[in-house]
């Protein structure tokens, strides 16, 4: 039943996006020698429906912004970029669209993928189709275990649990005296992994905390009054949550209505994904809030970030969240890899040459330099901090801003998460 609707959306949305997403009639630059003159086709997978739709939208907007700029300044080696956008939905349908992008549209690379459920499936197909795939936000982790330690064609996002690790480290820094904790996380792998990892980090860091309550509401619940009653009853010193969608907004609002955070610390590892909905009226100061890998209001941010935020706000009347930057880095790294490979062979690179060039490459993202680790995992920095009302917005921002690199907060290639955490030298 769902297929029918998704298929419809695919046709309608895909067609609209493909025409809208920057395929200018006139190429502005001459292709370099050895480079075909026709546009290079890049396949994009974006979630357009359901709870993650805002995340998919942010990724797509970041991609389109990139494409517009690159096409204006001559494309990749003089080749214009044509985006072919397909919808990410359930694993089965998305895999079909992924194949279609490669077999029918003949794209050179596929970029996108948010839901781990989907990207677990895409990883295997990418290997089979022998076309590079760069994932926006999905991994090929099952729980916290990597299922594809040495992929050839798949490039994966940061590990799911990094923001819980960073939050754990910062919990010790800012909320040292905490003795009891409660967790409210969504009832699927990301929610469970984050809660488990967060506790493991606190334990390793010598915080002798006792978990007094674990709540795992389904994704999409819009009423937490009963959950909040349970939290009030358990009276933890600190509440940890990895909510990342509208549920983060809702629980903060409903918590404010009963004054939940008056005597309790709060850690929201991922709520920065909906940061501009966290209004000051109901979001207290002093919560630990994670913005994932891009913080829109970073005073030390690059001119590129500032321009992006400004133009994003002007166009969509919103402030961008991290997924825009995952998407921006992915597609920018593809461009840099093609140029790197071209510098050696003076020919438009084959797909295999692109993959080789991508390994270990650095590229400028909106939030600074990011890279692909040699085992195809994205390396970047995470932004978290304590919420403050001292800004010019009607929502909270963070101060101080803690920036933690995946070099220290993500498990190294080939290691097991809990073994790695337990092996930290404190």
């Amino acid at each position: 039943m769902a297929t029918t609707r998704r298929e419809f959306l695919k046709v309608a949305g895909g067609a609209a996006a493909a025409t809208a997403a920057g395929f200018p009639a006139v190429a502005r630059a001459q292709a370099k020698p050895g480079v075909p003159s026709d546009p290079v086709k890049i396949g994009i997978l974006a979630i357009r429906a359901g709870i993650a739709a805002p995340v998919g939208t942010a990724g797509l907007r970041g991609t389109e912004w990139w494409a517009e700029r690159v096409n204006k300044s001559g494309g990749i080696l003089g080749r214009q970029v044509q985006l072919i956008v397909e919808e990410e939905s359930n694993p089965k349908d998305t895999v079909e669209r992924y194949r279609k992008l490669i077999l029918q549209d003949k794209v050179e690379v596929v970029i996108g993928g948010i839901s781990t459920g989907v990207t677990l499936a895409l990883g295997a197909v990418a290997e089979e189709m022998e076309t590079p795939w760069l994932s926006w936000d999905g991994t090929t982790q099952k729980g916290v275990e990597e299922t594809m330690p040495n992929p050839k064609w798949a490039f994966k996002s940061v590990d799911n649990e990094v923001e819980a690790i960073v939050a754990g480290q910062l919990t010790r820094k800012y909320f040292k005296g905490v003795q009891t904790i409660a967790g409210i996380n969504n009832d699927y792998s990301y929610g469970h992994d984050c809660w488990e990892t967060y506790q493991a980090v606190l334990k390793k860091l010598g915080m002798n905390v006792k978990p007094v309550l674990e709540l795992f509401p389904k994704l999409g619940v819009t009423d937490f009054t009963s959950h909040i009653a349970a939290i009030q009853q358990a009276k933890p010193d600190l509440l940890m949550s990895s909510f990342w969608s509208g549920d983060a907004t809702i629980i903060l609002k409903q918590a404010a209505a009963v004054g939940l955070f008056k005597n309790m610390k709060g850690v929201f590892t991922t709520a920065g994904g909906v940061h501009d909905s966290l209004k000051k009226e109901f979001t207290p100061e002093g919560l630990l809030l994670g913005y994932n890998t891009m913080y829109f209001d970073d005073p030390k941010g690059s001119p590129l970030l500032k321009q992006f935020v400004r133009e994003y706000k002007a166009k969509y009347n919103e402030y961008p969240a991290y997924e825009s930057d995952h998407a921006y880095f992915n597609i920018e790294s593809y461009k840099v890899a093609v140029e790197k490979a071209y510098a050696q062979t003076k020919q438009w690179p084959t797909k295999a040459q692109v993959v080789k060039a991508l390994e270990g490459i650095e590229a400028q993202s909106l939030s600074g330099t990011r890279s692909w680790r040699t085992d195809h995992i994205q390396m970047c920095s995470f932004y978290q901090g304590l919420t403050t009302h001292k800004n010019n917005y009607d929502f909270v921002t963070i101060n101080p801003i803690e920036v933690v690199s995946t070099k220290t907060a993500m498990k190294p290639a080939g290691s097991k998460l809990l073994d790695w955490i337990n092996g930290w030298k404190i």
């Binding site: 389904k218 009054t225 009653a229 404010a256 909905s277």
Partner: protein, 295 residues
């Protein structure tokens, strides 16, 4: 102890208040038209989004924030008029068809309304910000309860009483009950069924849209919020009995409070407990607590 009990109970009753409105919409339509309206959850979502827009317009044009509940309720009721369009434009063609057609049609409505919402309001959750906190908090036996939640509970209770009065004390109510009992006989006695159907369906729609509008200040609107709720509404209907208003009322209370108790006592049971009750009811009393005997 008492404080915790009040917190748990108020959380459950608040949830039940909203659940009742949606389930009541489902029941009134099924009772008379014998159509199981899957789209009742979508009407709820539509009411929620309309409520946000109505409140935004109201406060944007200088309306006093304390009165936001007026445009909220009016917006919720007004968008319920879409029921007229849906009934006349779509449903009336399938009354004599197989139930499968009716289910398919109302499911199609679910998908269409979800896309309509996405096209109109976008994919990001929308909310009325912190207006919800304007009404302050009440202290009940040591527990802090948002006054707005109490207003919603009171409104839902008033609507339940209103429907009870409508069904039992008015001419229209008698016609509704007669049509539900025996449509041919009602028609033979001169009741214009088209007229009854339009009104009943619009009433059912309005209950859903009003429920959505009323809940929204306390939460945020997401395009799939209706689907989330309809599953619980089904449980309410099964427990209470298909087509019964009293069943919707009791069923909503059972589901709301049990869910709340489960979350506090044994969170793993949050959803499971409700379905255990559903199974128990189906085994022990398949027609539900207040359902009519099976034909």
């Amino acid at each position: 102890m008492i404080t915790n009990l009040v917190n748990i109970l108020m959380g459950g009753v608040f949830h039940a208040a909203i659940l009742f409105l949606v389930a009541a919409g489902l029941q009134v339509v099924f009772g008379v038209q014998k159509i199981f309206n899957l789209a009742c959850g979508s009407f709820y979502a539509l009411g929620a989004y309309t409520g946000v827009s109505a409140v935004g317009y109201f406060t944007g044009h200088g309306g006093p924030p304390a009165l936001f509940i007026v445009p909220l309720a009016l917006g919720g009721l007004a968008v319920g008029l879409i029921g007229v369009v849906v009934e006349r434009g779509l449903l009336r063609f399938v009354y004599d068809r197989d139930e499968t057609f009716q289910l398919l049609l109302t499911f199609a409505l679910v998908l269409m309304l979800e896309d309509l919402i996405r096209m109109t309001w976008g994919t990001a959750p929308v909310s009325t910000g912190g207006l919800y906190l304007n009404y302050g908090q009440a202290r009940i036996l040591g527990a802090t309860v948002p006054v707005y939640n109490l207003i919603v509970i009171a409104a839902s209770l008033a609507i339940a009483l209103g429907i009870g009065w409508l069904l039992s004390r008015t001419v229209f109510g008698r016609i509704i009950r007669a049509s539900a009992d025996n449509r041919e006989m009602a028609e033979a006695l001169g009741v214009d069924m088209r007229w009854v159907y339009v009104r009943v369906f619009t009433l059912g729609t309005m209950l859903g849209t009003l429920g959505g509008a009323l809940v929204i200040p306390a939460t945020a609107a997401m395009s799939e919020m209706g689907i989330e709720l309809i599953v619980e509404a089904f449980a309410v209907v099964v427990i209470g009995g298909l087509g019964s208003m009293r069943g919707a009322f009791v069923g909503a209370l059972v589901v709301g409070i049990l869910r709340s108790v489960a979350i506090s006592v044994y969170p793993e049971l949050e959803m499971l407990l409700i379905y255990l009750i559903v199974i128990a009811v189906l085994l022990w009393r398949p027609r539900g607590l207040f359902g009519a005997a099976a034909a």
